[in-house]
Symmetry: C4
């Protein structure tokens, strides 16, 4: 196979590509952006744009989850984050922001976050946060880790969660363990639930198809990689060139669709999106939707108030995300961030207007078609 | 085929190359630059150098269009730019320059430009600008977008335009739409005109050959990509490695020449030219002429007065070009910029003297021959 | 073979890869880090972690050799370094540190180190240093150069060395020369010893398998390459892309195991480890253990007190290592550096906790298994 | 052939490699540097080291030509440089150095050099300069351009030149033109001379073998490319990845040796040498000797007194070399620069001691053998 390389005697590796290495090729047609649809539907839930938020407290509060929902996307609250641990999250985050402004040692910010996460999860706080989202009428989604899924899920459902996201750096169908060492059987866990489950991250075909076989409605590809922020690659040596990972997960989706005679599991790409063009590339590689983190942190409504980090930043013994200031010179509300108009020339604003335009300029009318667009890779 | 790569399971992408990745290989011969011709002819119009200006107000005023023409190139005025919208363009541009000198937020410059373009197009102003060029006796060319081609072209012809440039980020032969959604049929549009039409940009073989079949006299490859200035790649994910794009368009030219039994459509490369060597590389890849933007912005006569941007910077909702200061330490008149002598060692001055020398040192006597020169790509 | 490239007419080169170019692919399984073993055993000596220290005075004093041993790794003292040449090493190093703080010309630091190494080796000092390690009860290891192995080894054994490390930039089985030009026959030298010998560096399959045939218990791959510190590549043009070098040495280990019907020679990777992920990648490529230098220099106990260099820095006529300050903002004790907890997000702390987690997240239970994990290389 | 790449439809390019992309692989042997020979002989002239100086006034004065000769290399004076145009070169260069220290616009330095070269060549000055070298007893070599070879050579021979270097950016065997357009027939020109001629640069196999057939004793590969200094690639688009160019010229040498039944033409690599390792790589790719420029500019004796440029910097209409300050923190005499000892860790000092060591560590005893050493290229 062309994509195998001998890296030494008797050992092959696969060539893998990041989104920054692929580019979209126009087709022979063009069309008006007005004639383009960006809608996405998973289970019974329909969305105007293929947007799922990365479950980090830096961008998702109950309030922004509602805002994202009202703008046509899916906000996912982190059920193990600050809103589940602190009655007054704003004050907690304020201390973080102040520390950052004092230009402290970056590591101090990570340690501060670790301390904030050292507080126990309080079901009442979590329930209250979820209720806030539910009361707005938008689709309610929350994220749990595999380790705490069994414990927290009942409370989440009671509070009104409609889509459950089971997410860790890597989630496999086999022998996902909890802190006490007892396995969580994802298959029976999902079978017992009445709500659709989105699970991941996965990084390859095999993990993806096994996860699809657990009954998940959607599979997350990647772990929210963000250059300059996440450090999972540096810390664990586990990398996920997203273009290849998405293509492989889409292949698993196709094979699983075939083996089940019609069950379509959605592929949600979580990582390597720096500008609107990367959203288009993610879909072009085969994703049904994108999970966005850092690109939303510039929104005026973002709880991080100018800081971004992923939940991995709070890991007690091996944090794998920095706490970093977001692009200074962009300051827009969430609606403008998603739909424009933009006065910025860097592809950081009007994210989904840009996706619509990318489809139009390459002659495609919806996301499913666009997954077939031609691609190039550099030299 | 060697140039297909598996980027994942069941998905291939094509390897594509930028001008910076290719280099010209000398042949066994060398000759004197005096024995080299750089002339180029399209339709009835003959030019001493294969230069077409990128239709941005930063470099093309009626005055510079005349100057370029008198120096042997083709100046193209943007019929939808500032000269069509403002009676006193100098004052308008001056405000831009002053803002830049105040070191304002770069985004402010884009917004200022958006405001200047919010003014309506006035046919009288446009007509007057075109007349200025016509009266000088040089070949008159103007650029319109596909959206407004039908509306503006009659006025342009009346004013004396001899070559019409229909240009957008991507222009395809099929279903080019106008704001009102009605398609512009480029084929019948061109058929009804008495003047030659240059259309584009295209980024691939198929779009190129279909565009050639509309009757265009020339096809533009690329969209004026300029590192650090244009952001179409970042915003839309649509990239155009120019070496590959030019080679493919040249293949379309060859195939179309064959299918028509002799109709030669010119390939004009618009993008990735940073220094004079990139002009040589563009021709070496198969271009008949180059469309230059940023490299001309250092000219003392440039209306941008030290700033450069492409027309995409003025897009009302998704600007895809920054407004940036040009190289500080070059300050030359247009004639010296094109023909030297140069006191600069960076290949930024004496652009076409350098092209002439590149042909001489590799033993070629004209541009058509030079399209066959050997190339290398890096490791 | 796919890994041969024509670099010109009639000359092929092999494609080789560095650790930074490979990434680990998760398998279909995940497991708890508690269920993972990182133990390593060479000859009769068993270690909790696959850690051998690079024999540079910047990180290994008798005291840190003991500390590393007590934490489960193998500390290797440089028998030709400062502890063998100076009665008061602390004062000597202090001068170096002070010079560095004065922000002197980097070359001055190299020259200062050259002067410190100009002092003769005193057997009494060497013996005393080794005894300090022996008295602690940890495994005692010391490094000699091929040039001085014959001369110094008797004294090392007398002092209690249990594992002998014969190490130079490149050590081959054939015609290793001493200063007087007489060859050291490594094979008979090793045969006459009662203690296991680790020898290297090697950079390719042939040197590795020949070295294995001398009876060495372990072979070192690489020469402690550290970006920004070592300059062997720049000075000699001899590079060692570590991923390929480790894979090749592992192939030699496999072939030698086969030709001897069961003799297993350990492969110890010495170079290109910048963060914990690179340790995982080294094992993933086939290493049994890693030899760490720079990553340990941030430890509070490191004799270098914030400076790092390899022994090559002291070469009298062609130094091939700079003396450089280590990462400022990490300041931890050795135990935390190896096992966490970490408050740093860059993969520079909790080095072996990260290795354990890398195995767990990819579903492997021990190092030997992990040598088979899937790998990718970039585009 | 594996080294051809489709860069687009119907157009192939050759993969080419720079010295920075190749690395030397050790063999199974090592030997003592004392057992290594670096001698090189061309025609009747024997040299201790394979060093030819790049004919730029920045490093070669009559005095340094003598010094290089006495140290075992070949100094080449530029017969069209400042020593041929100015009675008091020191004062002229001093002005340049002072301008540089005033931190003037870099372009000003180029213009100053252009002015210095605007002075006519005076045969008396040239003769006197050559005589100074001749009187020292070292081998006398001077460089002329193809354009002025016929005119200047008689004077050079009269003054005592023993090796003539005919050098331009590209020199081909066919139709080398002079300013008046009359061709210089290199073949008859060389045939009429009693002294050996070294000619170039060439960049590919065909130009090389044709140049060998003119009777040249040596062929120069490359044009003295030096990152950050020369800009021929940027200005003309003509690049010379040196590893590939040297390998190809060595193939031409082999084929010409075969077709002549034993005439050996020397390949002299001129470019891309930044540190001593690049000298080793040049020989490893097949060069018989290296032509060094920038690496010698740090010598205390260098006329450039801390500035470096190539003769291309003085081109009247298209300068293709900057005038740049050399590495600050190295300040050594020429002898130490070539043979050490070095107190610098960057491979910039002890250039030929490092070459000797590179041969020793890879087990080779002379340069001819070393041309067969194994190579790797990156990923």
């Amino acid at each position: 196979m062309r994509d195998l390389v001998d890296i030494g005697m008797g050992r092959t590796a696969r060539r893998a590509f990041g989104l920054d290495e692929v580019e979209i090729v126009p087709s022979r047609r063009t069309r008006s952006s007005k004639d383009v649809s960006t809608t996405w539907q998973i289970d019974a839930y329909r969305f105007d744009i293929p947007l799922v938020t990365h479950p980090t407290d830096a961008i998702v509060s109950p309030g922004t989850a509602v805002a994202v929902g009202e703008l046509g996307g899916l906000g996912v609250l982190n059920a193990e984050g600050l809103w589940a641990r602190h009655a007054d999250v704003d004050t907690a985050l304020l201390r973080l922001v102040e520390a950052a402004e004092k230009g402290d040692d970056p590591a101090d910010l990570v340690r501060a976050l670790q301390r904030l996460h050292a507080e126990p999860i309080q079901v009442e706080l979590l329930t209250e946060a979820i209720r806030k989202v539910r009361d707005s009428g938008v689709t309610v989604a929350a994220r749990v880790s595999p380790q705490r899924a069994a414990e927290l899920t009942p409370h989440l459902l009671a509070a009104g969660v409609e889509i459950l996201v089971v997410q860790g750096t890597i989630v496999s169908a086999e022998h996902v363990t909890r802190d006490n060492g007892d396995p969580l059987n994802l298959k029976s866990f999902i079978a017992d639930l009445d709500v659709p489950v989105i699970a991941g991250g996965v990084h390859d075909y095999r993990t993806a198809i096994h996860l699809m076989r657990t009954g998940a409605a959607g599979v997350i590809v990647g772990h929210g990689h963000c250059a300059g922020v996440t450090t999972t690659d540096a810390a664990l040596g586990i990398g996920t060139p997203m273009a290849t990972a998405i293509v492989d997960a889409a292949a698993a989706r196709r094979d699983y669709l075939d083996e089940t005679g019609g069950r379509y599991v959605h592929v949600i790409a979580d990582g390597d999106v720096h500008a609107s063009g990367d959203i288009a590339k993610s879909i072009a590689c085969g994703a049904d939707a994108v999970m966005l983190g850092a690109p939303l942190a510039v929104a005026a409504e973002a709880p991080g108030q100018g800081l971004y980090w992923t939940s991995a930043a709070a890991h007690p013994s091996l944090p794998r995300s920095r706490v970093v200031p977001v692009v200074e010179d962009v300051e827009v509300d969430l609606k403008t961030l998603l739909f424009g108009p933009s006065g910025d020339a860097d592809g950081l604003v009007n994210l989904f207007g840009a996706l619509r335009r990318a489809l139009a300029k390459t002659g495609y009318s919806d996301l499913k078609e666009f997954q077939k667009v031609g691609l190039t890779v550099r030299g």
